[in-house]
């Protein structure tokens, strides 16, 4: 890959370990998980045993206390499994669903939940989006009413990754008045009375991940399940967004890299007009473009990692990396399927799956349009 220079010896050794694990225990499940519309939940426990689920969470709470580059190695190799839905589900657990808890939760709450996140004993999901509210988080309607023994939550959540299998949903609720200052985060155990899975949603791609609509009907959870303070939920979420956007970029450029690898392999062995099609300039120029764009995307992501590791604010760069890599991925998978011709349209070929999986990358975790808004805002050019 030629990226070893960017990592320490330990991180490169960790990559070897990850790659072996993924090849041996994850990749063989691809067809089964895609077919059944979900990974097998037991794999989380296995990953927890190997110390993979809390890589840069504190040792005190069962994490590994490693830095972001080590976490990047984890993301990259996880995504290289090519089972992108599963990779997204793992990230929902290790990052999106749990980052705000680790960032702002009380010691007791972290003691209670973060250990189980790291061990894989409890599967996490993040419940932000609602049927009527997506990018506009400040307007969410799910209500958490203060009652005698805690919060009573009513409302519904939409497009929730890990929705049917999660043990805990980090739920974005309204505890106060309108606007961002009324938003809080509350952990909801999914065995709580009043919580139910409305339905499992059928998707275009990312089939190895379950996505669901969740319903809360007077679902009462203890006060202690509030993350940090009331009314600060939005800011706690924001604190994890740089990382989330970065991980989205990683998934995109790795998916693109897999599409490129498959295309090269195919173009070298597919004979037309008496010669491997890679000898046609029309084909090998596509490959040159794919490789160039992937490299550019990766370097933008690596630059963001370097900033983040140095403690420099990089919301702009993370947003750039997320949207650019997602759009780059769409260009790359389009070429990959084109190079594969008819076979690229057939389920047996991985590029067919990558093509379907790719589209979510421009939508999930903040649409590409929202990313552009963030960039403009970070550049100080937002007109109110």
């Amino acid at each position: 890959m030629g990226t070893e220079y960017f990592f320490s010896d330990e991180q490169n050794a960790f990559r070897d370990m990850m790659r072996r694990f993924i090849q041996k225990e994850i990749e063989p499940n691809a067809e089964k998980w895609e077919e059944q519309g979900c990974y097998d939940k037991a794999i989380f426990k296995r990953m927890g045993d190997l110390g993979l689920l809390g890589i840069n969470y504190p040792v005190e709470y069962g994490g590994q206390g490693a830095d972001l580059k080590t976490h990047l190695v984890f993301w990259e190799e996880l995504c290289r499994s090519g089972i992108s839905g599963f990779a997204m589900s793992v990230m929902a657990h290790t990052d999106y669903g749990s980052a705000s808890l680790v960032h702002a939760g009380s010691h007791e709450l972290k003691e209670k939940y973060v250990k189980d996140i790291c061990s894989g004993d409890k599967l996490f999901a993040i419940g932000i989006t609602e049927p009527n509210h997506g990018s506009d988080v400040a307007t969410i309607e799910t209500r958490a009413k203060s009652v005698e023994d805690g919060y009573s939550i009513s409302g519904s959540k939409m497009f929730i990754t890990n929705g049917t299998q999660a043990d805990v949903v980090n739920t974005v609720v309204r505890t106060g008045g309108p606007g961002v200052k009324g938003v809080s985060l509350v952990l909801v155990d999914t065995d709580t009375e009043g919580f139910s899975v409305g339905r499992k949603l059928n998707k275009m791609g990312m089939l190895s991940s379950d996505t669901a609509e969740l319903v809360y009907e007077d679902c009462v959870v203890p006060k202690e399940n509030l993350i940090g303070e009331e009314g600060k939920g939005f800011y706690y979420l924001m604190a994890g967004l740089e990382r989330e956007r970065l991980s989205g970029a990683v998934l995109s450029y790795i998916m693109a890299e897999l599409a490129l690898e498959d295309s090269i392999e195919y173009a070298k062995t597919r004979i037309q007009f008496g010669t491997p099609i890679i000898s046609f300039q029309a084909v090998n120029h596509m490959i040159a473009e794919m490789a160039t764009e992937i490299e550019a995307g990766r370097q933008l992501a690596y630059h963001t990692v370097s900033l983040m590791n140095a403690g420099v604010r990089c919301n702009k760069e993370a947003s750039m990396a997320k949207y650019w890599c997602a759009e780059m991925l769409l260009r790359v998978v389009d070429k990959a399927v084109q190079i594969h011709g008819g076979y690229g349209f057939i389920r047996e070929y991985r590029v067919e799956r990558l093509y379907r999986d790719a589209k979510l990358q421009t939508i999930g975790g903040g649409t590409n349009q929202v990313m552009r808004n963030v960039i403009i805002s970070e550049m100080g050019l937002r007109v109110k």
């Binding site: 050794a13 370990m17 190997l50 993979l52 890589i55």
Partner: protein
């Protein structure tokens, strides 16, 4: 229990091997190096033995600076410490010189049981474990797929054609591992992070009081003959083409 596991760093099984033009060895550029798979079984069994009876596992390996990565891998899997014998005189040593160096290192440390892979996947000699046992004056049981230790007795299963042998011997002894003995664990992330701080002694042959003596040398290395290109039989008449295939199989390939 004091447990020793000997490991060798070899080219990755998926590496493309190119023999040097002068036949003196292989081109090492671009090769990814890994622990020989049979040695991994040995390390895993060493760790399981430690987990059952307590004690510590020492890794011993011979090779140039890059060999340290393989020692660290074993430490990341859970071994306590390592000895890395780095001496140019031993880089392409034969089985005897290799075993002599291992014996010299192991003599200096307490050892109740020593694990080796049954052979290294690069030179396929399969002799080091046995010679090592001989030099240390210990019994050896080779190519085993199951091991039970009771008190100071080791009971090992060795598969042979159509049967298996149950072999008993006394500790200390040398065991060489065959596939099937166990399922080697991954070096976990916490293991990898801890491995950096575990002690590894780097020694030269002289530090071990050893004068390297080889019983054999590789005179020349040559690649296997290139596979001849396939032959496509042209023609329109399937019967004639089939007849031609049969003629070629009989007269040229001489397989029927």
């Amino acid at each position: 229990m004091n447990i020793v596991a000997c490991v060798k760093q070899v080219p990755d099984t998926e590496a493309l091997i190119k023999v040097k033009a002068d036949g003196s060895g292989i081109e090492e550029g671009g090769i990814k190096w890994v622990m020989s798979p049979y040695d991994e079984f040995g390390v895993e069994e060493a760790l399981k033995t430690k987990e059952k009876f307590g004690g510590e596992v020492t890794i011993v390996s011979i090779g140039p600076a890059r060999t340290m990565e393989t020692v660290r891998t074993a430490l990341a899997m859970g071994a306590e410490k390592g000895i890395h014998i780095d001496d140019p005189a031993l880089y392409n040593a034969d089985a005897y010189a290799t075993a002599s160096a291992l014996a010299a290192a192991i003599k200096g440390i307490p050892h109740d049981i020593i694990f080796c892979g049954m052979r290294a996947i690069d030179d396929d000699s399969g002799q080091v474990g046995s010679i090592l046992a001989e030099l240390l004056g210990l019994p050896s049981v080779t190519v085993i797929t199951k091991l039970d230790i009771e008190g100071s007795t080791a009971k090992a299963i060795k598969p042979i054609e159509g049967a298996q042998l149950l072999i008993e011997t006394s500790l200390p002894c040398v065991i060489t591992a065959q596939k099937g003995l166990n399922e080697p664990r991954y070096a976990s992330l916490p293991g990898i992070m801890k491995a950096k701080k575990k002690p590894v002694e780097v020694k030269k042959a002289a530090d071990l009081g050893l004068t390297v003596e080889q019983k054999s040398t590789v005179a020349k290395m040559s690649p296997p003959p290139a596979r001849p290109p396939g032959k496509i039989i042209q023609g329109d008449d399937p019967a004639a083409k089939a007849a031609e295939v049969i003629r070629l199989l009989r007269e040229e390939a001489k397989v029927i």
